[in-house]
């Protein structure tokens, strides 16, 4: 997908989500004023993305974020599977 004022965003995938999409990092372009929801919508066009839940946990630049939060050029957006540390 290309937009007229495209904004590059790095998307990180981990564990089962990385397995589902077959990669752990995706570079995408989103429109300016994009939100995390727009990034997720873009991801959902990719093969394997049907295995992502409707509302996954997300982070922007290594901090938990909400689906409606704004994404800026150069941001690192992470899609976080249910955590399983310990």
């Amino acid at each position: 997908m290309r937009y007229r004022s495209a904004m590059p965003v790095r998307v990180l995938l981990f564990a089962s989500y990385a397995e589902a999409l077959g990669q752990d990092e995706v570079a995408i372009d989103t429109p300016v004023h994009a939100t995390v929801a727009d990034v997720l919508a873009h991801l959902r066009t990719m093969p394997g993305a049907d295995r992502l839940p409707p509302q996954p946990l997300v982070a922007i630049n290594a901090r938990y974020a909400r689906i409606g939060d704004a994404v800026h050029a150069g941001d690192e957006v992470a899609v976080i599977p249910p955590v399983a540390g310990g």
Partner: protein, 146 residues
Amino acid sequence: MRAAIVTQPIDVATLLAEVAALGHGATSLFVGTVRDTHAGRHVTGMEYKAYEAMALHELTAVVAEAEATFPGTQIVCEHRVGELTLGEASVVIAVAHAHRASAFDACRFVIEELKRRVPIWKREHYVDGTRAWIDPTAPAPREAHA
């Protein structure tokens, strides 16, 4: 306080020494280890993966919150990532305080919060050679999760 994500085996004695002080009458220690079974399947090993920058931030925040919630505690916590064999420690938490109640409570606080929000995942290796990422939110039909 100290929190770390590490790749080498965790030395429990080092963590205990770090929180030791003459004013501490109690030290609690939690050691999480790789188990040989999960949901009825025989496990042969475990791989831990972290979103390292975020995991360190969250783990540091958890330890700081524990020290603030239980004043007077001194806490260190290390979580290991990479390939672990059965019985190896994946996480160690040492908490010292003047008295045992805060030492126990803060230790419990750290492990529960860690499991709730620190972005670390584990992939079990099974005896038949297959591997699977663990989803603690998925139903576990045969046993409760520890």
